[in-house]
Subunit: 363 residues, 4 copies
């Protein structure tokens, strides 16, 4: 049931963040729907919103139930070659699906745009901004609640995206896919954050490409950069759901396991509770995930921060804190696992003794 | 569209197997729906069929789309303490959901029963059989296409289950959760298979608790046992979706990672293609998965055996064989991954250098 | 200083074992002297006793100092192709060196013969026994204290060796290089032990090719075999100094790391204390090492069993029990390592995250 | 045989380096003699030169035979608390032993001093220099060929050491035990090198504490620093013989495996050939080892650089290049290992599947 006054009466993203609330993002659509059979790896396009809307709706529902306060539209990323004739219909349908599910709970709809494939060929600001504006028009028409510019390797292009999105008059979040070494032009995370803040972004951070530990490190640097420049902005982190201590600046794309053998790197729910805690302690208040994040990972964020937020997400009706649901198991050695100390200290084995623990990135 | 004559005109399980066809099972409901937020670990009960039928239907749909020819009903396992008042309504609803989805494709509905929690306390054949019969009545009423007795640690109890299920007059499959060492009473896999065959089971094999490699080893022994006894039965394998070279007779339950830190052990699609090939070469024709098997793992079985079967599953419209969808990637080192040789030989890293590769089982 | 009455007054090997004393063997000559620059890998011959007697004497001294009660002669193994013209002079010199050092402490001299390269080509008992007898003559002339037939893959050939060595009238020990699966002709460890006992061997066990854990497992089976046959014999174990959980029947020769990259598998002193304790608890009283065992590993045997024996070896003047020598370190976190609990529970890292933990044996 | 004119006619260290020759250092005395039973871990003192001169002489001989051009005196390091009454006699005897062996081949004698334990308590330049001078007097009396100040964590103290050693009028080498992050006062490797060069050191580099890869990285920075400052100095690297990718600024002392469970980290001969090549390519011409380096590791340096130097070391008579000695093995799969490509590409397994690949440093 939507609260009286309807969904539009919900608090906006900035109202929440300004009030110090935690906003929980959602997780992986591309990789998760690839595993469910609705997205093609390599292409990574969202035509499922039209072809198989039930599958997309269901995933939105799972994230909502897990505690997400944001339904990101499952739309095309801004690569001209991908933007076939059907893109506009797909993106419009994606907005409707996100809105439909958001209205079933306490979630906002965010329209998202990404870096373009144009940028690496020529840095034609006008042409790239035009491409962003094209997408923005659909989001404006569908009246999303706020906007996210995400997955940028070059801060210059991210700034352009922010500038376009600001035209809409709604709050703008922006996330780069960089590690502590900085963006592809060697602009440090701190400098990136400052440039984005000056461009008017309301919420600044990182998403994708790097695992939880790396993402937290980058956020520290972004925060320091903003602080040193005397800029105020909310912080967002939407990490990869895989451990990537061995990847270089290119991120997990360059790891030999990408994209079809990443399983051994998949994070556990306990890894994510640690990540949520570290993000919170750092002052990040918009915490979500990216590729690899399944609904139970989002629930782990919501559970870790339940003491601060004062409530658990709906999906916690099927999950007892820190494995305590095992306390009635018939085997005593499994009952012994029903506690936080056990899971926090476990070093999980891969079951793959012929495999290494780290890889050398290609490239 | 159901073929003319309606779903009842589909070929039955034995018709298919007798004709030498491959039958593809489905995958994990409990663990998969736990990660989606609909099943509680520890309890592992299927009330979601009533509480969240869309979520259960969606998972059935994904397996169907991935190539499953069997929709197993997502019903209570036969533990008296779990069989609360609502079990009958849940099981009936589960049958309806399975049938609804099966009728959208070339799949049969299988009703399943499991070992009881009674058996370990007392071996009261009458009481246990009564419990099995109670469940069978619902399956009979809902007219499932065939029956599966699964997840048995003791062959004696499995024989009782087969005896009850045979009363229904439909084909009966039976799978034990044992490794090459044999059942909990040290009955070897070969002897187990023989006892089950003599009890009238039409399809015999293993499911759950052990990873692909171990399951194939056990199937070799079952096949040899049946052969030596001059018995004919079809073979079924529904392995765990985790690597478990280090687990003892108790299976993955005894591994310290169970059930909340199994991620690094999760099998890749390539592991499953290998498993499907080995199972096929061994003569197993009913090939599916158990806990840990996601839709894309089932699709991997269907893709591996597409040459023999002559067709691909619907979900392969979103998956190019052996990673060939990467052949148009902009980065040359990622294009280099677009081939079978690459994925077959990859030794995927865990990204966890502080973790071991094997664990010592508890107990 | 030799005790009054001279070295010949020392207690013999059987006197010691019959009295329940622990006899500590020595360690690796071939691999250790290869690393020191005096033995050629591949060839593995002992001409260093003539070319560089100081180097060989020094290694004998180190083992004596570490607690060895046996100086094995560093002589040619019985491969005809290796037995060049100089072999007799080398073997005689090896006996003199062993005796020289043995007389400086409480050690006996043991002459050793190994399996022949002939056996795999033809099983010509007469010819093989002649080759053994040829070597025995030197040992007899040099009056070694007892004899060891070691490194046999086929129990038949080991029996022939025992039969020849018994002609000398001194005690005979015999060790096979087999794992729990048995010898190359599938004779089980228990059956091997029985055949060797019936052939007159006084001390029976295993040496080389397999790591500590495997060797202890094989000894359990040998002991059970002897017990079941009602035979009495003393037990000997001289394990490899490398961890080999992944090797097949061919032993560590078949591991890809043999012989030039075995370093990561090298056992620690704590591994050897565990091995010594397990051997002792099993009833083995002649405990030593083979390839890979350095002097400090032998000292670890002597230290582990010091409570039972009532004394420490000379080299313990430079080694405090269980790392307690670290208790005065300036860094508190290193002082924290000065205890048994620390070293017993440590899981040492390889520092090689790009390497696997196990290998697949060649062959 | 010493060349005509006696050992003093040998070319000095600077003559060699100025001529572009490679000078090969020696390896580990403390850790190697600890394993042989003559040095006590924790204390790490060299009284063995008096107590067991044969053992020390033998190790010098092995390094000489492996190709070392430098015999470092096995003397006390400058910790006041260790400098008991006997230190002067020990150090004098150590000089005699080193000279005795050096005169048997083409090697020079180097007297060495190390950082003091005083420095961390108070930075009393006069008192510390007095302690250095005290030791220098013995080296001067024994007329060593050159001097090495080694194992310094603070460049300030290293500078003092160089200043004292320069008083003797012989060439001075200096090595710090730092990683690319710099010394304990955060002076970068480049700055350290410059300070040492300005203090008059003729040869500058690193030793101990960090494995080959880290040491090479630090040398790159030192070389860059010297180059940028327009300073000329010869370069020296004497790395640890263990892999330590996971250690922090404190080096391997802080790894949980130090000092009694470092075995799995031990470098292979192939690792050292790679290290020697990288050092050479970087322009380092004095290449040796530190803790963990056994004689065969030194031989690996000499073999790798034999093409440049034009000769092999004596110990290569017992070692065929790149495993080629295996080419006559009876087993074809072992013959297949007789080539460079095999060993260069091998990823050696630890045989320890329950252990991690990396550790977290203490402290």
């Amino acid at each position: 049931m939507a609260p009286a006054g309807g969904p539009r009466a919900k608090k906006g993203i900035l109202e929440r963040l300004d009030a110090g609330e935690v906003v929980i993002g959602d997780g992986s659509f591309l990789l998760t729907l690839e595993k469910r059979g609705y997205v093609k790896a390599g292409l990574w396009t969202p035509e499922a919103v039209i072809e198989h809307p039930d599958a997309v709706r269901q995933l939105h529902m799972e994230f909502l139930r897990a505690g997400s306060n944001v339904m990101q539209t499952f739309t095309f990323s801004a690569s001209e070659e991908k933007m076939e004739s059907k893109w506009e219909a797909v993106n419009a349908a994606a907005c409707d699906l996100a809105r439909e599910v958001a209205d079933k709970g306490d979630a906002l709809v965010a329209g998202g745009i990404s870096q373009t494939s144009l940028y690496k060929h020529h840095k034609d600001e006008a042409r790239i901004k035009k491409l962003f504006r094209l997408q923005l028009e659909v989001f404006a028409r569908k009246n999303v609640d706020f906007l996210i510019a995400e997955y940028f390797e070059h801060v210059e292009e991210a700034v352009w995206a922010v500038e376009v999105l600001k035209e809409f008059g709604k709050p703008v979040a922006v996330t780069m896919c960089i590690n502590p070494e900085g963006d592809k032009d060697n602009v440090t995370p701190g400098e990136c954050a400052v440039k984005l803040g000056k461009a008017g972004a309301n919420i600044i951070g990182v998403n994708c490409r790097f695992g939880p530990q790396t993402s937290i490190q980058t956020m520290k640097l972004m925060k320091e950069g903003l602080g040193a420049a005397g800029l105020k902005a909310h912080l967002i982190v939407q990490s990869l759901g895989f451990h990537t201590p061995d990847c270089g600046k290119g991120g997990y794309l360059d790891l030999p396991e990408y994209p079809f053998a990443l399983e051994p790197r998949l994070v556990t729910r306990w890894d994510i509770q640690k990540y949520a805690r570290e993000a919170y302690d750092l002052g990040v208040r918009y915490i979500g995930g990216c590729c690899g994040f399944e609904p139970y990972h989002i629930r782990a964020i919501a559970e870790e921060l339940a003491p601060e937020r004062g409530f658990l997400p709906p999906a916690s009706e099927k999950h007892d804190s820190w494995g305590s649901g095992l306390s009635t198991h018939t085997k005593p050695w499994i009952r012994a696992r029903a506690k936080r100390e056990y899971w926090e200290n476990l070093l999980p084995a891969s079951g793959r003794p012929f495999c290494p623990s780290l890889s050398k990135p290609d490239n």
